[in-house]
Every structure is written in C-alpha cells, then in structure tokens.
Amino acid sequence: MITFLVRRLALGLLVMWLVTVIVFIIFYIGPGPADVARALAGRDAPPATVALIARRLLLDRPWYVQYGHFLWGLVHGNLGYDYFHDQPVTSIVAQGIPITLSLIVGAAPLWLFLGVMSGVNSAQRPRSFRDRFFTTLALFFYSTPTFVLGVLLILFLYYQLTIHGIALFPGSGFTPLTQSPLEWFRGLVLPWLTLALVTAATYTRLTRSSMLDVLGEDYVRTARAKGLSERRVVYRHALRAALTPIMTQFGIDVGTLVGGTVITEQVFGLPGLGWTAVHAIQEQDLPVIIGIVIVASAAVVVCNIVVDALYALVDPRVRLH
C-alpha cells in the first residue's frame, strides 16, 4: 500500500511538472512577456517604463530563468504573484476553489444518482419502453453542449419564471455558503442542474452497457438460482460488479472538472477556477494560469490515485503493491 502510494505520487508529481513546462512553453510561443509589460505600463508609457516593469517581473530574462525562479518559489510553497494586481497567486486560487468545489460537490452526487439509476433501469429490461425513454433522454443530454443547456436553463428557469413573478433562482453570481446557506443553494441550483444533466447522460450509457454485460454473467444466474429477489440480484450482485467502470469514470470526471467547469462558470458568471483561468488567459497572466493549471492537474492525479485505491476496496482480486 505504501509503495503503491509512493509510486503513484511520484508519477503524479512528474505529470504536474510536465504540465508546468508545457504551460511555460505555450506562454512563450505567444506574445507573453512583451505584451504583459506593455499592458501593465499603460498605452502611453515610454519604453523605459515598460522595460522597468519587464525587469521587475523578470520578463526580460530567458524563459528558463523565469522557470527556475518559478520552480524555486514552488518548492517553497509559493506560486508567485499575479502580474497586474500583485496579489499572491495562492490567494487568487484560494478564492476560486470554494466556488468550483461547491459546483462539483452539488453536481456530482446528482449526476451519479441520475445516471446510475436510469442506467440500471434501462438495463433491467432492454428495449422496453422504460429503456427507450431513458436512453433517448440520455442521448439528448449527451448531445447537448453545456453552454446551450446552461443558456436554456437561464432562459426558462430564471428569465421566464422571473418575468412571471416567480423569482426562484438568481441568473448568475455566487454567495458563499458561510454567508447564507440558502442563497448559496439558490445560486447553485441551475449550474448544478446544467453540469449534472450533461454529465449524467454519460453515466446512463455507461451504466447501461456495463449492467448489460454483468447481467449476462454466470454469477448473476447463480444469484437467481439461490432464489434471491430480483432487487437483490440487480443491486447487490450485478450493480456491485458493474460499478468498477462507473467508479473509474467518476474519478476521472471529478478530477478533470476542477479545471473543467470553465463553461458552466462562464455561463452563470461564477468566479471559480475556470472563470479565473479564462480571464487570466485573456490577460496573459502567466503566474495565475500556472497556479490554476497546477491545482487542476493535482486534482486529476489525486482522483486517479483515489480511484485506484478504491479498486482494491471494491474488488478483492486487486491487490495494491
């Protein structure tokens, strides 16, 4: 178990390191340094000022010097400061994380429940009306781009309701949980629904095919031969075995969503990590981009490790080394 963790963490650190290198390279392919200094100095600033700013931010040094500087800071737990407001990147990231996590924490159980239940129901009677209903629904949401669904929800559940005097949900914005749990909840319902419906469709399809495979297995026949109730056969025996690919997908999704709720945040104006990242990218604010990318890939790495460790819990045939 320990060796497994050490190995996986080492691999994860390698991945994260590679990711930072790639970000640096992308940044330096582009206009990066020059544009940033000019933008900061203002339109009319003399070249000397621009140079001075560039110097202060180390932007005039070769990229590997800057990279070394960045790594040095990283080793000391410091992600640096953003170019424009001189705020520590850690605090910028820390502002975004609760919002993004709120989004995931609410949406994840929802899509897992919707997806798995509809998938199980579909698989129980393939080609029945129930199956066709759920698979068609899943196909529809699977095909819907996140921003289209988000905008549609705003149109109907916010705008149409609000102009008819039913102001259930706000159209955008975020209220911290600590400030007002009710407002936090109201503000997140539509984003949750957007993210959950789009994601649940994948789970419906995945659960259905996984369950269809498992329901044909010999041990399911054995369970029936024991005279167990159909409910127990489906949930206790079949679903338990069908859960492995679902779990893998869930780990991947939760991990990638930390840096991947960009569109939902953009649609609903939630200043989470994705929203912050898009703005940082528009401003070429390298330290912020790197900070967010590191957090996002760390989330992927951690989730992958958790999933692999969960395998061992779920499936006794898997041993950790």
Binding site: T3, R8, D308, A312, R317, R319, L320, H321
Partner: protein, 361 residues
Amino acid sequence: MTAPTAADEPTPPLLRLEDVVKHYPVRAASRLGRGRRELVHAVDGVTLSVSRGETVGLVGETGCGKSTLARLAMRLLDVTEGRVVFDGVDLTRLSARRLRPYRRRMQMIFQDPYGSLNPRRRVGSIIAEPFAVHGVVARSERRRAVQELMELVGLNPEHYNRFPAEFSGGQRQRIGVARALALRPELLVCDEPVSALDVSIQAQIVNLLSRLQAEFGLSYLFIAHDLSVVRHLCDRIAVMYLGQVVEIGPVGELDVEPRHPYTQALLSAVPVVDPDEGARHRRIVLSGDVPSPIDPPSGCRFRTRCPNARALCAVETPRLEVRPGSGPRHHAACHFPLEPAEPLGAPRRQPPADLREGGPC
C-alpha cells in the same frame, strides 16, 4: 536425466527437444503497479523426440506445460534452456530469417476453432496465407491450390469466398488443417485440436488426421488433456505433470501397464462408456490439487498428491528411465514404480528404514 537416446531410435528423429526449460516471469495478479516478480516453471527439463511418420501424444492437465511445450517446439516461444533440434538443425538460436525455411516444414493446428481463424478474412485468403508469406505459389495458381486443399480436408471448394463465421466448429477446424497443410509440412503440432468439438465432430477430425498422415507420411505431436483420443491416434504417449514428463512409452504398454501413479490416476479418471464396466472399474481419486508451477514441490513433483509417496520422494527427483519390468521404450520417473497391473494405494512392502528417515515428507 536419461531420456530415450539415439540408440533407441532406428533413424534420427525429425524433432527432438533436449532438456527444454521454459521459465517465465509473471507479476502477481495486480492491476495496480507491479507485483512481485515470480518465475513460472512452465516446462522444466523435457526431453522428447518425434520420428518421421510417428505420432507422439502429449497428455496432461491444465497448467502442466503441454501447450507451452508445443509453442517451444514451434519456436513461437523461446526456450530458457535446452535445444529444439529439427532434422538435425538446432532451431533455438536461429534468426527469424534463417528460421523461415524450417517454418515451412513444421506447422501447427490450434485448439479453438473460433480463435484460430481471422474472422475478417475469407477462407480462401486464410488458407492461401502461407503461400503469400513464403511466395511459393504464383498468385494466379493460388485459388486452384487452395480449392484442392479444401477438397482434401473435406470442405466444399465453392465456399472459397466465405468467412469463418459462416462455418460450424468442425468445418472451421478443417480450415485450420488445410492452412497447416498448405506448405506440405513434415511435422504437425496439434494443440488439443478436438477438445473444443462435439463428440460426433471430434471423430470426423480424428479420422481426417489419421487419413492425412497415411497419405502424406506426416509426423504428429498431438496434445490432449485426456487419454482416450491420444490412445486411439498415437504410437507413443508422454504424460506431463507440472512441467515435466513423468512417463513415456508406446501405446499398449503405457496405457495398459502404467508404472507412474499419476498415469494410472489419469487413466482411471476417464469415465468408461459402459455402465457395467463402470461399476467394475476401480476409480483412483487423487486427493488435493495440482501445486502451483511458481513454487513446485521439491524432489518428485507428484509426491504431494501421490498415495505412495515416501521420504525419498521429497529429496531426490526421480529420473525418467526404464524401470524393471517395462519394455525398452517405456520410461517412468518414479522412485517406487507400480508393479505391472498393481492397483494404486494397495498395501506395499515396507520401505527400507534408511529411506523412511530421509527427510520431511
């Protein structure tokens, strides 16, 4: 290990495996990270030869290494130690290019009639593949050659352009035989060619194989997990257990008067298709399971399940040699071979005292 030496054979054998060993590393079953590296002793010092025109049967249970041995003989796997000699030439260290001429002279028939044919190719192209690989038959001539082969194995040549899925198991096995015969090999290695077939189809293929042998003077190394088919088709039988040959001898000797307890148990395990004889037939039921080939028992590998095991068996590996009372071509690897016609587990003479204190048993 003294095995049948050249003196036993009137002519030099077509295929000779000399002290062949195959160990391969496995990782303990694990989807995460790498497991402990362990060595599977799949084949552990097997010497065996097949003469021209001879059929040698290789019998043993799952995991005894018989399929591995077949693949070593075909050089689909490389030996860890030992030599594979085909018609006097050591194949073990030939490069792929130098090996090619020998590939034409030995071919293989596989167990699974579904897995052994590429489902996305037409039968004609499957059977013609050896021609294409070796460039031996002109492209324009291939179709005729293939259709002749199809007729030879009892397939309708009109089905040249069909796909494997359109044939039944027995017909597919015929396609595999036709493919193996395309290059006119001298040796056919048959890896359980009838195990996956229904009884009635099994007999068709067995008859086909013996007819082809008579017509083309083929030699067979014929692998099976039970003795009944082998006894019918083979001249000599080798019995494998946990990577080693425990007994080898001509049909009519080995299967009638087995000297190794494992052979006897295997023989008695085959259900007899006669209710009366079944009642008379004394079944020898072995206790326990086959030990893991990763950590085989010391000394005689069969001792953990052998009713006659004694202290010596754990200490010294018995040699495969002629035991008193057997014919010259009948070898058994047992310290305490069964007397001819002696039932297993019968009371025996006390072993000498010094052997009884030989070590843990």
